[in-house]
């Protein structure tokens, strides 16, 4: 299908924003006293978040996982509130209760993030059930990694979603590694998408480093869900350019492999396409990058100037 220029520019923009956001965290998380906890970045996988979310409407729901920043920014989360939460500040989107890992942004219909591998899948089934129950014109997208496809929760969720024809799109971001384990060391089948057949739904294999391809596939899966034809398993082939977390020296990832995937960087790839086809000028591309840098710098400033929560706030927000 032909993807509109507007959509292409939108995807390029959210990818640039996500990458600048991640890049800033690389050094900030190593600066003593700035950001508590572990840091898990989505560098290299931006086309998945941007391509999927460009195909969604506001009312569509996303349920995400520990590697969530690119999903949330592409869905429209406020970078300041996300950054402040990553800094565990009172002004963060979750008042410091979540930190970087469990960011929950219900105001953009990204209500739950599970850091339990595979945890997002059964919840997405429930969220999609609510859409079916209320006959809403909306779908749920569930993001998870290739490692999650080995969890029982993956299989239970796909079985129930297939059985009940729920309006859900399962988006597997196959970034080649689950922790330090290469895909072929944890799964026998060549593609996660093969598993779709077991649960009575189509499996799609998508170039996860090309946002327009992800966008087109998502549109198709979304329409299928809205038409009452049930779920789709979409496997986006991509690559984790950084370690599982930022404390990870990537000793298990061959250097030439990383280099090869850097050459397939989804941002420079789409940027180049848009410049070469005359959709944007090189100057406009440069401007997008500067704008993203400014937004991220402003988010960092907001987070750093924000206060920590009061210690006693720990007791709040447990029960409704």
């Amino acid at each position: 299908m032909e993807v509109s220029e507007k959509k292409k520019k939108e995807m390029l923009w959210t990818m640039i924003l996500s990458r600048k956001f991640s890049d800033s965290l690389v050094s900030l998380c190593k600066t003593e006293g700035k950001i508590p906890g572990m840091m898990i970045l989505s560098t290299g996988q931006e086309a998945v978040g941007s391509g999927v979310c460009a195909a969604l409407e506001f009312d569509d729901v996303i349920i995400t996982n520990h590697r969530s920043h690119h999903h949330l920014l592409a869905k429209g989360a406020d970078p300041e509130k996300i950054m402040a939460e990553i800094y565990c500040k009172q002004t963060g989107c979750n008042k410091g209760k979540s930190g970087t890992l469990h960011l929950a942004v219900p105001e953009i219909n990204a209500p739950c993030t599970s850091t339990v591998v595979g945890g997002s899948l059964p919840i997405a089934v429930g969220r999609a059930f609510a859409q079916q129950y209320r006959k809403e014109t909306a779908v749920t997208v569930c993001f998870f990694g290739d490692g999650a496809a080995d969890e029982g929760s993956f299989h239970e969720a796909l079985n129930l979603a297939g059985l009940w024809q729920l309006p859900v799109v399962f988006v597997c971001e196959n970034n080649v590694y689950a922790g330090a384990q290469r895909y072929d060391a944890h799964t026998r089948v060549k593609d996660v998408a093969e598993r779709a057949e077991s649960y009575g739904m189509p499996g799609m294999i998508v170039d996860g480093n090309h946002a327009p391809a992800v966008y087109a596939a998502t549109l198709k899966a979304r329409q299928r869900a809205l038409d009452g034809e049930g779920p789709t398993l979409m496997e986006c082939k991509t690559y984790r350019l950084r370690g599982h977390g930022e404390s990870d020296p990537q000793h298990y990832q061959p250097k030439d492999e990383i280099k090869a995937w850097q050459a397939k960087n989804p941002i420079s790839r789409l940027g180049k396409e848009l410049v070469e086809s005359g959709i944007i000028t090189p100057a406009a591309l440069q401007e997008m990058e500067s704008k993203a840098e400014n937004i991220v710098a402003e988010a960092v400033r907001f987070a750093e100037e924000s206060p920590f929560p009061e210690a006693q706030d720990a007791l709040e927000d447990l029960y409704a």
Binding site: I123, S153, N159
Partner: protein, 325 residues
């Protein structure tokens, strides 16, 4: 007044709440078409009454059932799911413990998860330890959950209706032995608040704190002790969390003696928590060391004499009473 088994009282609560609120739906293994087809069971007749859109028979798939509840509750529905037997809680536990209980807190109070997990529980059926294992202390150990364990049919109806209307995840544990005991149940629409214990028998000499299936054991023992002029006060907790400490402490203050009675195993059981509360806040009331009467630290065995040995009875309770009187 109508007399109902606890399962029938649960059924009535479900019917009333489903009529009242279209957001309430039920899901689980056999909640629609049940292998038993027996009116003593809690979801009997609901499929016919409410249809397959709201009475969802699921595959044998506890993680998916519990996840269904978490996601649907976040969207504002009020799921009531059933876990067929308490030991299968382990299969649903990631969704309940890591998600239902924590996601509101993780959202900074933005989201809520108004769901009920009904669990069939209790020893006494010769079913063995993978179908009989009282795990209420596990659930009570998770902040973010509420744990309800009714001992009478009337309480079950009022507590379940409150649980369904509560905006938090509630674990509602039903002792299957009580499904077969007919007890009076008011016919009107009434609520019993979560977090309030009830004195099921007043007394001045000894406090027994108990819940669920053990209330009957406590009442029988109290009758026997009464013949010896020993008056037992029985506190039925009804809700483990939030815990009604005031009622426990007021009773111990009155009697000066405490026995905690539960069917679950001893070590790490919820009786230890009650003992700790009384030691911290009611130590000076005690005229004698407190006692726990519980299942022994073994899996529930299948053979009738072994299972009978496992389940605390009134003789165990009377013996403990004699030790501290």
């Amino acid at each position: 007044m109508q007399t109902l088994g606890l399962g029938q009282a649960v059924n009535q609560a479900l019917r009333e709440e489903m009529h009242r609120d279209p957001n309430v739906f039920i899901a689980g293994e056999g909640v629609g078409v049940d292998i038993h087809d027996n009116p003593v069971f809690p979801t009997f007749g609901l499929l016919e009454a409410f249809g397959p859109g709201r009475v969802k028979d699921t595959p044998v798939s506890e993680a998916a059932i519990a996840g269904l509840a978490v996601g649907a509750a976040e969207a504002g529905l009020r799921p009531v799911i059933e876990i067929m037997f308490n030991p299968f809680f382990t299969l649903a536990s990631d969704m309940i413990v890591n998600h239902a209980a924590k996601l509101r807190y993780l959202s900074g109070g933005k989201s809520s998860f108004p769901l009920v997990v009904r669990i069939k529980s209790g020893a006494g059926f010769g079913a063995g330890c993978q179908h009989s294992h009282n795990l209420e202390a596990w659930a009570a150990h998770c902040p973010g959950l509420k744990v309800v364990m009714p001992a009478t049919s009337a309480d079950a109806k009022g507590l379940l209706k409150s649980a369904i209307r509560d905006n938090n995840p509630v674990i509602f544990i039903e002792h299957m032995g009580l499904y077969f005991a007919k007890m009076p149940v008011p016919e009107d629409d009434y609520l019993i608040p979560l977090g309030k214990a009830e004195i099921k028998r007043p007394g001045k000499d000894l406090t027994v704190v108990t819940w669920s299936g053990m209330l009957g054991v406590a009442l029988k023992a109290a009758e026997k002790l009464s013949q010896e002029k020993i008056e037992t006060e029985i506190v039925d907790l009804r809700t483990l969390t939030p815990l009604d400490k005031d009622t426990i402490l007021a009773s111990v203050k009155k009697t000066g003696r405490l026995i905690v009675l539960h069917e679950a195993t001893r070590t790490g059981g919820f009786g230890g928590e009650i003992a700790a509360v009384v030691m911290e806040q009611g130590f000076t009331y005690l005229k004698a060391p407190l006692r726990r009467v519980t299942g022994p630290d073994i899996p529930v065995p299948a053979s009738p004499p072994l299972e009978k040995f496992y389940i605390p009875d009134e003789e165990n309770l009377i013996q403990a009473a004699r030790e501290i009187l």
